[in-house]
């Protein structure tokens, strides 16, 4: 105690350190993903079942008229592909939220949160890591659909990338927000029933909104208020090399709101963790 202790303030963490941190978080997510091959197969099989079975059956029942961005009558498979792409991202976003709950139970969320980087940065990094995984899933799915006569213009495959990043961020941020409120792992079943299915069905993923309006104006209004609708439309338009500005604005706005709320929920002083009650011991 008597000898002088040299106190050097640690140098502030520079941009390189931030990048190393981001890279490390993404690298870990990728490693975990590679270790869960079933998760990848499930992520691929789910939309393909919809495409091969559901769409084939509905093709005969449901006619889709010419609506933007399509310039001609399209097959029902072509219509629902953007919706299924968004579904892949929706599942992935919620599954990342599951992994946050799992992480928290297993304690590795705590390892993340004692990192000296700002908590917002850590959560965004985690989000980007989840989005990167979803991009891989989506592009493999799009590659398969190409052989099923869903062939958007080549430019669409590039134009859809920024749209996917944004929609992936929105859905991931929503999942993260939900994860802050979930205490137990089993509650993912609840998320399926109360978040994933309603969001997916009450949107323009499976049927154009004008059709919905004919069936039920109330349901139509719900669809119009559902942010998932705009994620689907953003992807649909960009896959055809166009921008749907309204969808872009809504998705960007919702991303900001969900992300802000998630960061607040994980904030040490205002957050849910602080309020909900502490650990035992």
């Amino acid at each position: 105690m008597s000898e002088a202790v040299t106190i050097q303030d640690p140098r502030p963490l520079g941009p390189v350190a931030y990048l190393l941190c981001l890279r490390g978080i993404m690298w870990r997510e990728a490693l975990r993903f590679l270790h869960q091959r079933e998760r990848f197969v499930a992520a691929l099989v789910r939309p393909l079942v919809w495409l091969f079975v559901f769409a084939a059956g509905f093709r005969a029942v449901l006619g889709v008229s010419i609506i933007p961005p399509y310039e001609t009558y399209v097959l029902y498979e072509v219509y629902i592909t953007p919706g299924l792409v968004a579904m892949v991202q929706l599942f992935n976003g919620m599954q990342s939220s599951l992994s946050m709950v799992y992480d928290r139970e297993m304690g590795s969320m705590r390892t993340l949160l004692v990192s000296p980087f700002p908590r917002g940065f850590l959560l965004i990094s985690k989000l980007l890591a989840g989005v990167a995984v979803s991009l891989l899933q989506v592009y493999v799915f799009l590659a398969v659909t190409w052989f099923w006569d869903v062939q958007p213009p080549l430019i669409g495959y590039f134009a859809v990338l920024p749209a996917l990043i944004l929609s992936g961020m929105m859905l991931g941020a929503l999942g993260m927000l939900l994860s802050s409120g979930i205490k137990q792992l089993e509650n993912f079943a609840g998320i399926m029933n109360f978040v994933i299915f309603p969001m997916f069905f009450a949107s323009s993923a499976l049927y154009p909104l004008w059709r919905m309006n004919e069936a039920s104006p109330l349901l139509y209004n719900i669809c119009v208020l559902n942010p998932f609708t705009y994620a689907v439309e953003l992807i649909r338009f960009s896959l055809h090399g166009q921008i749907n500005w309204l969808a872009l604005a809504v998705v960007a706005g919702c991303t900001a709101v969900f992300l802000g709320a998630a960061i607040l929920a994980y904030n040490p002083s205002k957050g849910l963790i602080a309020r909900r009650g502490g650990p035992g011991g």
């Binding site: 202790v5 963490l13 690298w27 870990r28 975990r32 297993m106 000296p116 909900r276 009650g277 011991g281």
Partner: protein
Amino acid sequence: MVEERGPLALEIDSVSHAFGARKALDNVSCAIAPSRHCVLLGLNGAGKTTLFSLITRLYDNTSGWIRVFGQDVRRQPQQALRQLGVVFQQRTLDLDLSVMQNLIYHGALHGISPARTKRRAEEELERLGLTERASDKVRKLSGGQMRRVEIARALLHRPRLLLLDEPTVGLDIDSRQSIVDHVQRLCRDEGLAVLWATHLIDEVLPQSQVIILHRGRVLADGSRDQVVAGVGANDIRETFLRLTRDDAKDGDKVA
């Protein structure tokens, strides 16, 4: 406050924390000098983990303040957290990743490049006799080995204060002893300050500072001998039992 010799490793001043109506910590104050081995002794539910959560800023303290080497945990979390190494009560390693992958991930969380982390990790693993397990999946390790990896991980970024929350829970006697010895060496040879939370009295070393926490309040704080003398007991076990007697009746066991 900051002393002339330089700041204390850890200063906690008038910290209270409540979850709803339940008061987990009630006006807790204590301090640990650099290179000191400090045992935070308390029964289950005494508030040890809550105190750790506040020091590591899982959530903020609403009253009082906490400083790590002079850095306020709330106001300068970045500087404070960088001086801290933490071993949590729960296992926090990724079971499906290898030991080295876990360590590299931790390095990244502190802004350290994979190459540098690897060099540091090799040093730490060698000291712990785990070099040959570096590429094994964590799942294959024993409980004691996992704990040692977690200690190696906590030291990667060269912190000056090491927090351990009941690090020997669930371990056999040999693993327990090897961890106690290792941390003692770190403290003695490398000048690391240690805050070791436990309910196991035999983990108190002769040279330890002892803080007895009971129902969220500090009942005793000082060197082992001071604490024992303060109560007029024969040894630390008797001291602890006397101070926490009310609870001992409730069925909590002291090992």
